[in-house]
Subunit: 124 residues, 2 copies
DNA sequence: ACGTTGTTCAACCAAATGGTTGACAACACT
DNA sequence: AGTGTTGTCAACCATTTGGTTGAACAACGT
């Protein structure tokens, strides 16, 4: 279908699914249990769960007739790794830029109007 | 349209958009610049940028004809906050469960077959 | 065997998504 | 003034998504 990271992000892009994850963080739940608060059919909830399962966010084991749903929190790491990597990169870049701007203030350069992105583009 | 958290997750659910964000973490880019590596029309890239902009992940300022795209890394916090909250909650639950199981081992309870989720459901 | 409970599968529908092409707006360069 | 560069807007198309209903399946209690 798509790479897992895409599936995880897509799965969490829906408020109902995020709410399910939130509740599953507290305790495992059956499908009926999960469906109770929402004003949609049981089948719709089952579909949402399939999306979460395909993303690797939950697993379902069998227990008599019930299908307890269990949150697999490790998948969160996939996202945080991705996010943190680029957040850090961006922040480092901004602080480098701050340094450049501070230097320009001191020097009173005549290239002060040049935009930040060009500075960055040519910076080492 | 939808809440920002949903928009941010949805925006990052697309590999092309994630790649754009990755490149924007390094340096600001113009639209043409951004579009170069991808095998899609410029208009498609423009649409992707609109999605990222609506999510608050990027801003576009005007500079002559060019429209430099700039990454707004603060929005990442929205996601990490959400993710970390439930990850922590889930992890705490698991360690509590570990404690319960350990206690059961000691006691050699006859309810050992009872599933974890039921233990959790009635715990605390 | 039979009904009940819990859950999924199948077919369908409306809206959103990601892509296309064509027109055009804004600016820069002669 | 005329041309090229950079980017967006509008209309269209195919696919995906989130929802519905109705039927089916699976595991129990009787």
């Amino acid at each position: 279908m798509a790479d897992q990271l895409s599936r995880v992000f897509a799965a969490l892009a829906d408020p109902t699914r995020r709410d399910m994850v939130a509740r599953l963080a507290e305790a495992d739940h059956t499908v009926n249990d999960l469906a109770a608060p929402y004003d949609v059919s049981l089948q719709a909830v089952s579909k949402h769960l399939k999306v979460l399962e395909d993303a690797g966010l939950v697993t379902r084991t069998r227990e008599a007739q019930r299908r307890p749903v269990h949150l697999e929190a490790e998948v969160f790491d996939l996202m945080t790794k991705w996010i943190e990597r680029y957040r850090r990169q961006a922040e480092e870049r901004y602080s480098r830029l701050d340094a450049v701007l501070a230097r320009m203030q001191d020097d009173d350069g005549d290239t002060a109007a040049t935009t930040a992105q060009q500075q960055e583009g040519t910076a080492s």
